[in-house]
Structure formats: C-alpha cells, structure tokens
C-alpha cells in the first residue's frame, strides 16, 4: 500500500532530518525548534515521495537500476505515484475538491462569526487563523484545479498527445500537494498563523510554529506550480499531433500556455520571498524586519508573484469559458486570433501591475501613476475576451446545458469583478477602499465568480470524458440556479460594508454594520448548501450514472474523438490535424482525421 509506505518513509525522513538539525543546533547553540521542523520536513517530503512510488518509478533509475512505471491497474493506481496524465488529473481534481470543501466549511465558520459584531464563535486568534487558512486553501484550489487537474487530463488529449512532455515530473508536481495539505491542517494545532495568506513580515516572522508550517506549505505548493508550468509549456511546444499548428490550437490550450508562462516564471519570486522569511526565522538572517531589513521589500516580491498569480487562475478560466461557449453555440470562436493576442498581452501586463496592491503601503508616490495606468490598460485585452464570448453567442444555436450555464455565469460574474477592479486600480478610490470589504467582494467576484464558476463549467463539461458516465442534467441545473443566485446575493451584499467603512480581516466590527453582515452571512450559508446537489450528483453519477458516449456534446476537439474514458495512451488511432478546431457550420473544415493505429508512427510535433 504505497500511501502507508509513504507515511512511514515520511516519518523516518522526519526523524533523520530532525536528528541532523539537532546535531547542528547543538553545535551552534541556536534555538533548536524551528530548524528541526524545517529540516525534518524536507527529509519527510523526500521520504513521502519515495514511499508513494517515486523510488520505484524514477529513483532506481538514478542508480542504474530498472524502473517500474506501470501506469495501468485498477482503482489503486490513483493511490500511488503514477505517470499517466489522466490519473494525475483525477488525483488533482479529487484532492482539490476535498480542499475546496474544507475551505468552504471554514468560510461558513467565518460567516457565523461575522453574523454579529461581537466575538462569539472564535477567539480572536483562531478567527485570524481560520481566515488565513480559508485564503491559502482557496488560492490553492483556484491555482491548481484547472491548471493541475482539468488541463492535465484534457490538454494532452486536445493536442493529440500520448502524455505530457515529462510524465514523471508531472507525477512529482502532484505528489508534493498532500504534504501541503497536511501542513496546513496541522498548522492550527501549532498555534496557527494570523498573517493572512499574504504573510507580510515582520508579523509573519513572529508567528507561532503554525506560521512556519504555513510558510513551508506555501513554498512547497510553489514548487508544484513551477514544475507544472514548465511541463505544460514543454508539452504544448513539443507534443502536438502532426498538423496541430499554432493557429489550430483550441483556445483552452492557449490559455493554459499563457498561464503556464506566468506559473513558471512568477512563482519563483514568491518562493524566494518565503524562503527568505524562513531564513529569517531559522538562521536569524535579516531581510525584511527592521532594523536592518525592509518590510516593504517583501510586499513587492510577494505581489510580483501574487498579482500574476490571479492570471494563472483566470486565464484558464477564460479558456474553458470560451471553449465551452463555442461548442455549445455550435459556432466558431469569434475573433480567435484576437483572443490569443489578448492572452499574450495579459501575460505581459500581468508582470508590470503588482504595485497597485501597494498604493497605501508607503512606497514612493512616483510609482502610483504608472501602476495605475498599466493596471487600467488590462481592461483592453480583457474586453477582447468579452467580445469573443458575446460575438460567439451572437446568432448562435445555443444548447443550454449545464456547462454553458456556468460559462455564462463566468461572463456575468466577471463583468462585476472586472468593473469593480477599476475602482481599485484608481489611486484615489483605492486609498479609501483598500483593505475594506469592497476588496473582499471584488476578488471573490473575479476568483470565485470567474475561476470557481469556470471550474464547475469545466467539471460538468469534461465529466463524461473523465468518468465515462453522464451527470444528471436536472440536478446540475438546480445546482447552477442555487449557486448563481446565492453567490450573487452574498457577494453583491458584501460590497456594502466595504463602502461604509468596514475593514477586512476582522472578527469584530462596529455594531452599525451588523444588519448588512447578517444578510451576507445568511446568503453565504445558503451558498454553502447549494453545493449539496452537486456533491450528490457527482458521486451518484460517477458510480451509477448512465454510460457516456464518446462525444456526448458532438464537439469537434480531439479529446472527444477518443473513447470515454480514453485508453492508456489516449488514442487507438493516431490523429492527424487537418483544420482549425471550431469548424461548426463550415463543411470545408475538418479538425482531424484518424489514420494509422497509434504507435506505428513516431509522435512528431511540427
């Protein structure tokens, strides 16, 4: 049982690392506790990875021994180091659904606390830890569910590949996620951390051990993102089927490529920032804490990643949204080339807008103007995405299935998210609104209304391909209706406390703001309950749903041209791409034909 072996090896690794650390701190006379945890954790992760199957599938190779990749098997293949991108995709999705539900329960607890102005559910510190955990867990869900989960499963299929470029690195990217979750869940037992997911020093260098666990978790998650981004870039460049030219890539693939570039390059910055915080803690080095350090430096480093990170979340959401809108409109994607250009522009701009998070930080005033202008310019490429969505819908033959409903939900919600973003890009209004509930409502409109709705759109859309079974359409509609309405009540109402003077990240607030918070809380509990039909639908349909045909949506892209679920190396017959992927209503365009059986021809990109 690889999971048990992984846990045992992790424990052994921890003891070894802790032992080495104790030896060193004994010599240097430093405080032993935190170095012990860090070094123990590093060895524990290595032990964990080797135990869950990395040694068998990869490690033996380093010592000239034969490896056993064995990607096939029954359900137990999901519970070990497995190099099949489809298995890894399902591992990501199911793990992150669990994280999503846990973080959702934390949100319910927060809304219970905030339903009235006093202190009732939590102590002050536990509220802050709860809020911080909710934040980082949802960030992980938003970053990795589409990128690690759905694109892992469908992207190689969409480009006609047998797998990703580096299947073993792909498995590694997933298997460092469980340590992240374990650390985050352990953190409250070790004093928690009351810094928010942003972890600004000096506060974050002074938290209990729980804070150190969070910083290690975030750093580990960053490594997973960096490796994942690199893998997708390499896959899209090298693994495309013959004839899959750049102009024939489905838009979802473009969006993943764009997000992967950010994921590979920007994530390294936050990794350095967190590493420096950890070094401050365990080596008493001085980077961010005065005297000697500069607290603002971290904020720049952090947002140099964390602003682009929102595009790691939203670009694949746009990709999935447009993909679904085109297929369910039975119409080619409107202004395809302009959307690709818009994605490229968003990637470029995403790197030069970070300091709009710092208008009230005390950074030089000369930076305000440029960062305001650059931030507002992002509305132009984002507008192109809306043009494409609306242009595709115009004069379409809309099939109003659940995936399309969620995709339209993304368009609706992101309109609010994008427009309220202007208020925060403008320096004057941002100085009033920064760190209030207006910001909280805004980013829930972009991240939840955009990315999480897109996750559900993608989830319903690819469910038949992933599981080989159909979901229940009626339950899906009920889920959409409840979630869409209650989501909008919750977060529209949340703008109000922000504009009347309620700051974020507080357990207590002036009683004047009580009634509006009560409305938000009640709607939020309803929103929480709206996921029940979804959970039931997914579980029940996966087990008992009716068998899905290969192409239930009658869609053109390659993932629908193989069986549901696809065979081990994806295609029984090898695809040769002959036209663009959105040839609806155009008989001169065929996306692909299938010729020789797979494996008789070498897989070649162009």
């Amino acid at each position: 049982m690889p999971l048990v072996r992984g846990a045992i090896y992790a424990a052994i690794g921890f003891v070894i690392g802790a032992g080495i650390s104790l030896g060193i701190t004994n010599m240097t006379g430093e405080d032993a506790q935190e170095p012990l945890i860090v070094l123990g954790y590093v060895f524990a992760v290595i032990g964990w990875l080797m135990g869950v199957g990395m040694w068998k599938a990869w490690g033996r190779n380093w010592f000239g021994k034969s490896t056993d990749l064995n990607p096939s098997g029954g359900w137990e293949r999901y519970l070990r180091f497995n190099i099949d991108h489809k298995v890894i995709g399902i591992q990501y999705i199911t793990s992150l659904v669990v994280v999503f539900l846990l973080a959702g329960i934390l949100a319910m607890l927060m809304r219970a606390e905030l339903a009235d102005s006093g202190q009732n559910v939590f102590t002050k510190t536990t509220y802050n830890t709860t809020m911080s955990l909710h934040g980082i867990m949802m960030v992980a869900v938003a970053v990795a569910t589409v990128m690690g989960g759905f694109s892992n499963f469908v992207l190689p299929l969409m480009i006609g590949a047998e797998d990703v470029a580096f299947p073993r690195i792909n498995a590694l990217s997933f298997w460092v996620i469980p340590p992240v979750v374990v650390l985050l869940l352990l953190s409250p037992l070790f004093g928690g951390f009351d810094t928010g997911w942003t972890a600004y020093p000096p506060l974050s260098t002074q938290t209990p051990v729980g804070g150190l666990l969070f910083e290690l978790a975030f750093l580990t998650f960053g490594i997973s993102s960096i490796l994942g981004g690199m893998n997708f870039i390499a896959t899209i460049i090298t693994q495309r089927a013959p004839g899959m030219t750049w102009g024939r890539l489905p838009i979802f693939v473009w969006s993943v490529l764009a997000a992967s570039i950010i994921s590979l390059t920007a994530t390294q910055w936050v990794a350095y920032g967190l590493l420096m915080i950890i070094f401050e803690r365990i080596f008493n080095m001085v980077f961010f804490s005065p005297p000697g350090g500069n607290a603002l430096l971290y904020q720049h480093v952090f947002w140099f990643y964390s602003h682009p990170a929102v595009y790691i979340m939203i670009l694949p959401a746009f990709g999935a949204e447009l993909e679904i809108i085109s297929h369910f409109s039975r119409k080619p994607l409107f202004a395809y080339r302009w959307v690709v250009r818009a994605f490229a522009l968003i990637v470029a701009l995403s790197f030069v807008v970070w300091a709009h998070h710092l208008f009230t930080s005390g950074m030089g005033e000369s930076l305000h103007g440029p960062f305001m202008i650059l931030t507002e310019l992002i509305s132009i490429p984002t507008g192109i995405v809306f043009l494409s969505a609306l242009g595709t819908l115009w004069r379409s033959k809309l099939r109003l299935k659940v995936p399309l409903l969620f995709a339209l939900g993304v368009v609706f919600n992101f309109t609010i998210g994008g427009l309220t973003g202007i208020f925060l890009a403008d320096v004057a209004t941002d100085i009033a609104l920064q760190d209030t509930y207006f910001v909280v409502a805004h980013f829930h409109y972009t991240i939840m209304g955009g990315e999480i709705f897109a996750i559900f759109a993608a989830g319903y859309y690819w469910f038949p391909k992933i599981t080989g079974r159909m979901y229940n359409e009626t339950l899906g509609r009920i889920h959409f209706g409840l979630m869409f309405i209650l989501y909008n009540i919750t977060f529209l109402a949340m703008f109000i406390p922000g504009t009347v003077g309620m700051n974020r990240r507080v357990a207590e607030y002036p009683p004047e703001f009580e009634s509006m918070n009560l409305i938000v809380s009640i709607a939020a509990f309803g929103l929480g309950l709206s996921f029940l039909p979804w959970i039931y639908n997914m579980l029940n349909s996966w087990i008992r749903g009716k068998k899905a045909p290969d192409n239930p949506w009658d869609a053109t892209t390659l993932e629908w041209q193989t069986t549901s679920p696809p065979p081990l190396e994806n295609f029984d017959e090898f695809p040769v791409v002959t036209g663009d992927p959105y040839g609806y209503g155009d008989e001169t365009v065929t996306h692909a034909r299938f010729g020789k059986p797979a494996h008789s021809a070498p897989a070649e990109g162009d």
């Binding site: 510190t125 802050n128 810094t195 600004y200 506060l203 002074q206 804490s289 005065p290 607290a295 603002l296 039975r330 080619p332 409107f334 202004a335 302009w338 009230t360 005390g362 305000h368 103007g369 305001m372 202008i373 507002e376 509305s379 132009i380 192109i384 043009l387 609306l390 242009g391 115009w394 004069r395 379409s396 033959k397 809309l398 109003l400 339209l408 368009v411 609706f412 309109t415 427009l419 309220t420 208020f423 403008d426 320096v427 004057a428 209004t429 100085i431 009033a432 920064q434 760190d435 504009t499 009347v500 003077g501 700051n503 990240r505 507080v506 357990a507 207590e508 040839g583 609806y584 209503g585």
Partner: protein
C-alpha cells in the same frame, strides 16, 4: 460612497467613486442584456442539431470594440486617475495648520501633536482634531513592531505604518463630527497586525478650530 466625507480629499474620492459607478452601470447593463437576449433569442429548439452560420470574426466590430474600450480606459486614466493624483498631492508643499505624529504599536495608536506639547498614549483617549484645517499625519510603527495601516474612514484616507519607514498623508477637514454620531470618525488599523487587529482603533472628534485651541491649551497646561 455612503456617509459624508469630512475632508476635501474625501469629497474628491466620493465623487470619483460615483463617476466610476455611473460609467460601470451601463457597461454591466449592456453585458447582462446581451446574455439575456442571446439566451432568449438564439436558443436551439430541442431536436435542432444544425450548426450556426460560421462567423469567425468581423473586422469592424473588433475595431469598434477596441476603440470604445480604449477610449473609456483613457478617460478613466485622465479623470479620476490623473486628476486624483494631483488632488492628493496638492498640499504637499504647504505648511500644515497641525501636524500629528502617529506611531503604531500592537494594538493601539500613539499620537503626538507636533510642537504643541501634547501626546495621547491611552487607547481610551479621543483624538481631537480641528475643522477647516490642513492636517498632516506623519505615520510610522515602532521598530520591533509590525505593519499597521492608519485609516480614518470619514476622511477616506489611509497609509501604512511601517516599522523603519516614515509615511504621511494630508487632509483638509471640512466637517465637524464625533465618533458617537458617526462610527467612521475613528482611526482604524487596516492592515492585519495579529490578535487585536480589529480592536486597534481610536475614536475621533473633529471640532471648530477655536474649540480645538482651547482643548489643546488645557491639555498642555
């Protein structure tokens, strides 16, 4: 924004907020109308398996879309963007009527009325400020402390209190007011600073200048 702004800067910010709202609502309405219309109008009848006509792009529409998004973007950059920067900076070179040195310390604020021999150390004391005055707040945080943010909701202004760094903002007060009448007459820490972050606030009263002079003379004496 809701509630009265009590400074000229705050009035500008409220007008900017209203203007952005006026611009945002038609765009939102347009998108929602479009979604509603296409769902109503272009929904495929059940059993209709035909594809739609393959319209791939439309040069004029793309150009038009580019034009209006760019124009709107430029408008917002100029006003309230650029004009806002000028508004917030306009008092930079002026000599303030009152300077208050503010220091953040977990979890309270310490105030020193610059050159007036008055400091407020207790969390329970009210911060008294004069109306119709240019007030400069010099803000920092103690060396071993953490980042706070000095926010006065009624003034609409905030700036972080960073250890090792001196920040400031100016306001010109335009209204008298008291915390008991308007909860936004308070200094509230707006940057998460640990356990008692939510309670790190000071009540404010803005009084007429004569009354202020009386108060500070009594206090100094």
């Amino acid at each position: 924004m809701f509630g009265d702004a009590a400074t000229t800067q705050g009035e500008f910010i409220d007008e900017a907020f209203t203007l952005l709202m006026v611009m945002a609502i038609p765009i939102f309405t347009f998108v929602v109308t479009m979604i509603g219309y296409v769902v109503f109008k272009f929904r495929a009848k059940s059993g209709d398996l035909e594809d739609a006509a393959p319209i791939r792009t439309h040069t004029n529409w793309v150009g038009f879309w580019f034009a209006w998004t760019t124009i709107l973007c430029l408008v917002v950059i100029v006003h309230p963007g650029y004009t806002g920067l000028i508004e917030l900076r306009q008092t930079k070179a002026d000599e303030p009527d009152l300077t208050v040195n503010v220091t953040g310390r977990r979890w309270q604020w310490i105030y020193e009325y610059d050159g007036r021999g008055v400091s407020l150390f207790s969390k329970d004391e009210m911060l008294i400020l004069p109306n119709d005055s240019l007030i400069r707040f010099n803000v920092t945080s103690e060396d071993q402390d953490v980042v706070h943010s000095f926010w006065i909701p009624a003034f609409r202004m905030k700036i972080d209190a960073v250890p090792g760094l001196m920040t400031y903002y100016d306001v010109i007060t335009t209204e008298t007011g008291h915390f008991n009448d308007d909860v936004n007459f308070r200094v509230q820490c707006a940057e998460l600073c640990g356990r008692d972050h939510s309670l790190m606030f000071t009540r404010i009263e803005v009084v007429e200048p004569a009354e202020f002079e009386q108060w500070i003379a009594d206090k100094a004496g």
